[in-house]
Symmetry: C2
Subunit: 499 residues, 2 copies
């Protein structure tokens, strides 16, 4: 990675008198420009010139001291030199050229903010930043470290296209239990009238029997986890605004899977009269006209379930004796625009999840995760009697945001729970549990009275996934279900009969 | 209302030989064109002319026999006359002019399908339909009664702007109970840390205490209604597509209050890379760019809660002994783009509702409504001890769709439940119950084995509204709550303390 920066420092007066002192300063600037870099690396002033009341500078550098950092490093000692001895102030800086060159195996075709041009030549991306009098990147963007964000972006992007593999490490595996069933539970539930397709993609309508199975899972979670571990129920909102996703980190990359939400531009019925009239006459909704009349997206339907919880604590400081805090939500649906094809209830666009969230000190959060894992093991082993396993995997936020290997994250991570589907031999991820480190408390500015770092964790119990795991191994006939599950399930409700 | 229609009937051959017979036919066509109209009213053929192999017609009419109906009425006897005696067929018809004139106190400025021009002159709308060789309205649109849809639209529209008043008729009123509280419960809950604003408009995050009150309401509904009346739980989808709203009738007018949902045009990450890069560098979401990358709206977030249920029964026939069917759903949120301003939890954009749905014969549905009303009365009188009243009001579907006074709807309608808010003296609608007649079974093509008409009803228990009614009359201090409520509520959970 190479940087080439051309900039001028604007002075409050002609600095002719200081020319010798400046020559001396730039001659000895090496240590400033190489501090922190490996031997022989860093930035250098390739040329400088005093032109009346400005100093023109050319700085070349490698990745270890980036050229714009070098410029910022020079500003203060130069100001001191000129101010003390010559009563001349450094008024500001103008950037006239800023080029970055980085190794790459591909071109970038789309626009990037603050970038004027990207060429791909000889295995390198040659990037000209949008500087100069008409440019978008000037002194304040340099001071706000915009070039660093561009460089991080390039690093993440070029690395992630190298085909980073997901981490997966087996932690524990149950005994292989003899399956009671070997068919696709979605097909069987459809035949039995337990579920029907909804009118949207990846959406199901659950009849009385399927709903009762879901509610039995919920009852198990309440009796085996929520009650004994003392979780308190809350109601988290189900429409997530950009503001929430900015703080949770989802705004970095969640777009391809979101069901976006747009409000009407106004709720004045007269504004919508043309749409209503069109519909009443043609019996078709004029979609292009509707699109004109809706506003920019304000966010999307609930994707992850816990981000909206954090608004409850946003900007607060928590008393030490209030920690750890443990809450859960089961108040609505989550929606993801999943890849196409037929997946039955194993992969759906609209799903139902009990979301468990806890926060406290690092030790408290890690200890709470262990308690939850013990509860899950008991449920999957002794109540659902599944063939299942659990593995340490790349956490979602690391996969999405590239936060690997931060030392402050030691102890954070995600555990997946997987169950085998006897009808096709695949393992389905039916549950997970994440320790998210400081991510959320930092993102939503929640602090501990003690000053200690706050950590948090979350774990989603996806009812469709539990049903996929359980019903594919045990089938739809209650007489094949484990005794402990049957006891909690009680009498199955009648289904709705049709002719 | 006046109609003026100019059209030609295309014949399979020159009809010169039939000219006298045609003259005789049109001379005696009066009864055909006036049948069903009051004396002296109806349509008339103002002129006709045989021009080789076509017959040019001018028809003028009033509202009693609309000109296009008159044209259709003439076709068959003319075909018989020409076919039997002259072996000439009527091949089709071309519309060259179709004008409608209707009294109005306002102009219509927007486009209406199949309409070429609308002028407003002298208290009348003068409408020229889009006919002729390049026009959108021809024979098949006449046969499909498009002009009738336009006329219905005009009638509804011109009537509804006359300021139709909502019907409201008191059915029953409780004794006025001494309020235990006279402050705004939303403000008090905020002060007590029970709730916080969500990040979206009209959205709240409910802490442990508020959630526990909601769950106590739910428990009351389960114990006093769902259990005793034998309702079965189902899970209704929470993303409503246009297809559902076409069948439920909401597509006619619900647009101003919808949170519209748009999926991404594709879930290919490369397609979204520019958006992600923009965000990572600027920390702002590029909303205009996102809007380009999302697809047309596929529908919206759940508005009414029962329409998506009907997909479960769509196109089926129900055995007589399966009726009545009684189900409920409590699986997620509803969202309405409400009018602005501050309403606290009394009027919210995101709310939580237990939706109760029943269907059967007319008698069964009306009888079930009475049972529900008795349960509600018991709850509001003996458990919540509210000051409340109930009134017969204009049903939502009549208000929205103008289906007033249909004889087949006798017995259908909506009952509102209202409670007084002591802090401002207003009455809040906190509950309703509707008998919807044949509306939904017809819309979703659900039939009864017996051939009898199927009716349905629905009733939404809005938890925010119940909380508004209850907490504004009883306050937040459990010691002021009625004994029967306290017993079901049990111990209130601790709230989350902040510094």
């Amino acid at each position: 990675m190479k940087f080439h920066l051309e900039a001028s420092l604007r002075l409050s007066a002609d600095a002719k008198a200081a020319e010798a002192a400046l020559s001396d300063f730039f001659g000895k600037a090496g240590p400033i420009l190489q501090k922190g870099a490996p031997d022989g690396q860093g930035a250098r002033v390739s040329s400088w010139k005093l032109a009346g009341s400005k100093i023109d500078l050319v700085i070349d550098s490698d990745r270890y001291v980036r050229a714009h950092d070098a410029l910022l490093r020079l500003r203060r000692p130069l100001s001191e030199l000129l101010g003390k001895q010559y009563r001349i102030g450094v008024r500001g800086m103008d950037i006239t050229r800023f080029d970055i060159e980085v190794d790459s195996d591909r071109a970038i075709e789309h626009r990037i903010p603050y970038v004027q041009e990207i060429k791909f030549e000889g295995g390198k991306l040659k990037i000209a930043l949008d500087v100069g009098p008409q440019g978008t990147l000037g002194q304040s963007e340099i001071e706000n470290r915009i070039p660093d964000r561009i460089i991080s972006l390039l690093e993440d992007k070029l690395q992630s296209y190298g085909g980073k593999t997901e981490h997966w490490e087996l932690l524990w595996e149950s005994a292989a239990r003899e399956p009671k069933f070997n068919r696709d539970p979605t097909e069987e539930m459809q035949k039995a009238g337990w579920i029907k397709h909804g009118s949207s993609r990846g959406q199901w309508i659950y009849g009385p029997q399927a709903t009762h199975v879901f509610r039995t899972f919920e009852k198990i979670v309440l009796e085996e986890i929520i009650g004994p571990l003392g979780y308190r129920e809350m109601i988290f909102p189900k429409l997530d605004t950009w503001d929430v996703w900015k703080k949770s980190g989802h705004a970095q990359g969640v777009y391809p899977e979101i069901y976006f939400v747009c409000p009407p531009k106004t709720r004045d019925p007269a504004f919508w009269e043309e749409v209503m009239d069109y519909y009443k006459i043609t019996h078709e909704v004029p979609l292009e006209l509707v699109k004109e009349k809706i506003d920019l997206p304000i966010g999307g339907m609930c994707y992850a379930q816990c981000p909206t919880f954090w608004g409850f604590l946003q900007g607060t400081t928590l008393p030490s004796d209030e920690l750890p805090i443990a809450v859960f939500d089961r108040s609505g649906t989550s929606h993801r625009y999943e890849s196409g094809g037929i997946h039955g209830i194993e992969r759906v666009d609209e799903f139902h999840r009990i979301e468990i969230v806890w926060l406290g000190t690092r030790e408290q959060v890690i200890a709470e995760a262990e308690k939850l894992k013990a509860c899950y093991k008991h449920i999957f082993e002794d109540i659902l009697e599944l063939t299942w396993r659990t593995a340490w995997v790349t956490p979602w936020f690391m996969a999405q945001e590239g936060k690997t290997g931060l030392s402050e994250m030691t102890g954070a991570g995600t555990v997946d729970y997987e169950a085998v589907l006897p009808y096709n031999g695949n393992w389905i991820e039916f549950q997970n549990l994440s320790v998210n480190g400081e991510k959320y408390p930092k993102g939503f500015t929640v602090k501990a009275q003690s000053g200690e770092a706050l950590w948090s964790g979350c774990s989603g119990v996806g009812l469709e996934r539990w049903a996929s795991a359980f019903l594919s191994q045990k089938g739809l006939d209650p007489s094949n279900w484990p005794e402990e599950f049957r006891r909690r399930c009680g009498k199955m409700p009648r289904g709705i009969r049709i002719l």
